[in-house]
Amino acid sequence: MSSTLAQTLSDSAVITRRNLIKVKRVPDLIVFATLSPIMFVLLFRYVFGGAIQVPGGVSYAEFLLPGIFAQTVVFGSTITGASIAEDLQKGLIDRFRSLPMSRSSVLVGRTVADLGLNVLSIAVMALTGLVVGWRIHTSVLEAIGGFLVLLVFAFGISWLMALVGLLVRTPEVVNNASFIVIFPLTFVANTFVPLETFPPVLRTFAEWNPVSAVVQAARELFGNTVPGVPVPDAWSLQNPVLYTVIWTVVILAVFVPLSVRAYMRTASR
């Protein structure tokens, strides 16, 4: 059993390395992972920053950054689906499936590499944020916790996207399909504006939207919450860390086995 685990880890490391080499050689990916987050931070900070009023007199940068972090890592995870669809199209999945490697390692290597890309994105955004006035007001441990919540949730979404990639099989379609789902998910949330302004139905959705919990958890752990405004009564936002962890565990419990099963049965075209 332990040798099986060791083999899975070693195979996954080989695949992770392969995926990271691609990041190094394809400038588009680096741009996607670093420049677009910078652009988002600057856009929201300076274009909408003046128009969007955050109650309680907190600087919009403080309020905004955790939202941008969450949105970017969730979008970053969609890369998993497109990359897997691309590997399928090019016959690489067939090759991997004909090798005596562990069954889950192609997917583990993929999701871990994409987690690595998200770490890079967050680091770039945090630095940009510091330049435009965002600050962490909590302890180092809490701040690390904040980054972990964001990354762990994104890792879960990666596994969901892995299944989408295996079933859809065309990178372009994966991208379009995920846009349709991910856009509302990250916008109908407390990402960029406080929930008080939402109409009732949308507000309920936003309160229970896991992305809202991720953002709320990050705000609390970085100390970016708005002092004058109470957190909505919804349990999900009263216990954002726990709610996020529950969602992530459920997503992984469902989509890791489903994705591995789909991988074992899939075939390039």
Partner: protein
């Protein structure tokens, strides 16, 4: 001699389409089997089942004595697969591709690296070893793909249409590499729609059509099955083909084959060189202009035509192709004439 591959009663359905309808075949250790058939015949499906990528609905398949379903992992350790598409990672260099596959075959890092170096040299890729595979030509990618499938010294190698889409020169060099491998004792199952390719590389052949084996044997046996000789005639004007065929009818032991595009007439005969002289005499005084005339033994195209009633390339519809994954780009030459 023991068999490296044993296949019995293999059946595979995709929805309403029956891709394999009871295929039996064996491949002796160290030999090369040519699996022949038109597009959509089921060749790729056989390969996918033998390489553990697909499960059969019925029947049984063993590779090096191991069941492809029950002992799938052990089978994977003993085989190499080169599919129809060069499955190389185009962002990795040639060397990185081979090292990666070597590591996934569970070679140590040092083994994987030294093997990668050896294979790059053997497949004339040393100069391109440190360039991303994206920059490789089609022929180079195929060679890298085959090199990858050889990295762990597999006992059995599956080559699924290894030269489809290659230019004639790359095809020739690929044939040399394959012949070399076979000479080194690797058991090879090769699928192809190029009869010339099978004739050149395979010890034995299995011809399948619509999921069934329709013939098997050595190239000579298959040709003997068709029998006799062919009198082949090229005329100056395609319009004269019918007249020539009519005139030569008394010599033919079977239906003549006319090909307007090549202006060629092929006539099964039994009289040897005498027929040649007779043919010329029969055409004397007609308007038929004879550009070329000769006697030859039947080739595999004749075999195919005789066995299936159709020429190799224009066999089945697109529905079949999609179902079996046996889709292939149009051949770049060297196919059925």
């Amino acid at each position: 001699m023991t068999d490296a591959i044993v296949v019995e009663g293999l059946v595979k359905r995709f929805g309403a389409t029956t891709a394999l309808d009871g295929v039996d075949l064996t491949v002796a250790e160290g030999s090369v089997l040519g699996l022949l058939g038109p597009n959509g015949a089921g060749k790729t499906t056989v390969v996918r089942i033998l390489t553990t990528l697909l499960r059969a609905d019925a029947g049984r398949a063993e590779v090096v004595g191991l069941d492809v379903v029950r002992d799938a992992d052990a089978v994977r350790s003993s085989i190499g697969l080169t599919g129809q598409y060069a499955a190389v990672d185009e962002y990795l260099t040639g060397f990185e591709n081979l090292e990666m596959v070597g590591r996934l075959y569970r070679l140590t890092r040092a083994e994987a690296r030294s093997r990668a170096g050896e294979l790059l040299e053997r497949f004339d890729l040393t100069g391109a070893a440190n360039r991303p595979a994206k920059t490789y030509s089609g022929g180079m990618r195929r060679r890298l793909d085959i090199a990858a499938s050889l990295i762990a010294r597999p006992r059995v190698l599956f080559l699924d249409e290894p030269t489809t889409g290659l230019d004639p020169r790359s095809r020739l060099s690929m044939w040399e590499f394959i012949a070399d491998l076979a000479g080194g004792g690797t058991t090879i199952l090769l699928t192809t729609q190029y009869l010339e390719e099978a004739d050149r590389l395979a010890d034995r052949m299995v011809v399948i059509d619509r999921g069934r084996v329709i013939a098997r044997g050595t190239a000579d046996e298959l040709k003997a099955q068709v029998g006799g000789q062919r009198l082949e005639l090229t005329v100056g004007d395609a319009g004269d083909l019918k007249e020539a065929a009519g005139r030569l009818r008394p010599l033919a032991v079977d239906e003549p084959r006319l090909d307007e595009s090549t202006r060629r007439l092929s006539l099964p005969v039994s009289g040897g060189t005498d027929d040649l002289a007779t043919a010329l005499r029969l055409l004397e005084g007609t308007a038929v202009e004879v550009l070329d005339i000769g006697l030859r033994r039947p080739d595999l195209d004749d075999v195919f035509l005789t066995l299936t009633g159709h020429v190799a390339e224009e066999a089945t519809g697109p529905a079949d192709d999609a179902a079996t994954g046996d889709r292939t780009p149009a051949p770049a030459g060297g196919g059925a004439r």
